[in-house]
Amino acid sequence: MKHFLHFHAAAAVALVGTVLLAGCAAPAPAPASEKPSASEPPYRPVASVREIMNSVIDPSVDVVWNAVKTVIERGRPTEHAPTTDEEWAEVRRNALVVAEAPNLLMMHTRPIAPPGAGSNAPGVELPPEEIRALIDKNPEAWDLFAQQLQDAMKPALAAIDKKDAQALLDAGDEIDTACESCHTTFWFPKATAATH
């Protein structure tokens, strides 16, 4: 989609250049990086980032996180972990959803929230238009955070493939760090800076 937008921008610049320089010289060709890719898919975002978070990432990452845990009641621990192939397959299915979802987030024309929606926590979470402005100011960081989440899912998927409950528990921390890094940068840039 980004390339598609670049194509339009490049086309407009080329058109203006053609008019201004008509009869003088042929306009320079657009840099290779701005040329549209013939194979660029015509992405059409339907959901907002907030909806992707709430409807795709959160429910799936919860399955991954909750797959392995210990409940300690009155000093007595009870261990929980997938035991059957079916249970491991269910965790893997959800881990794949979380690993692929960042590709949806890297579609830069996706709105932050549904039309008319405001901040989920006014005064704490930035309103959607300010989040959008921050992302537009630093889209590379946005993409890096999205890829950081994908990278964080790799150890989780490896642990699932080995049916290694402890490794899956350990991988959960890296996933949380990836989530929080992005949230504190774009959603709550001021709130976590408080000191007491």
Binding site: K69, P77, D173, H183, W187, T192
Partner: protein, 136 residues
Amino acid sequence: MKTKMVLVLLAAGALYAVQPVGAHHPFAAVYDTDKPLTLTGVVVKVDWVNPHGWIYMDTKESDGTVKHWTIEMSGPSQLSRHGLKKADFTDGMVATVKGYQGREDPALANGRTLVLKDGRSFYIGSVGGPNDGADR
């Protein structure tokens, strides 16, 4: 139909009891750094789970009543890195938690430091918490 409704409500109540707030949530959205607190009470239950662990603590109020607190910690890997073990949570143990109260729920807190009865102190703050020096 009435029985079905009761079952649905019971199921909803059970879910709430297991999941104090959405499993994953940013610190700033749920906790108030203007509401620091120190709680001392009996640890009745611990969830050692990602992305946040949970301590369920009973404290005695000044009027003699017991208040049931739900206290968020960091995830298991972070807790282990800071030296806390599952075996540290023994039956009937008394502990002190310093942290911040929830914005909406007065019985919800985010723990930053856990001090056990034997004097050992652990950083239990979750990722994304305030830079308040608790981790140093």
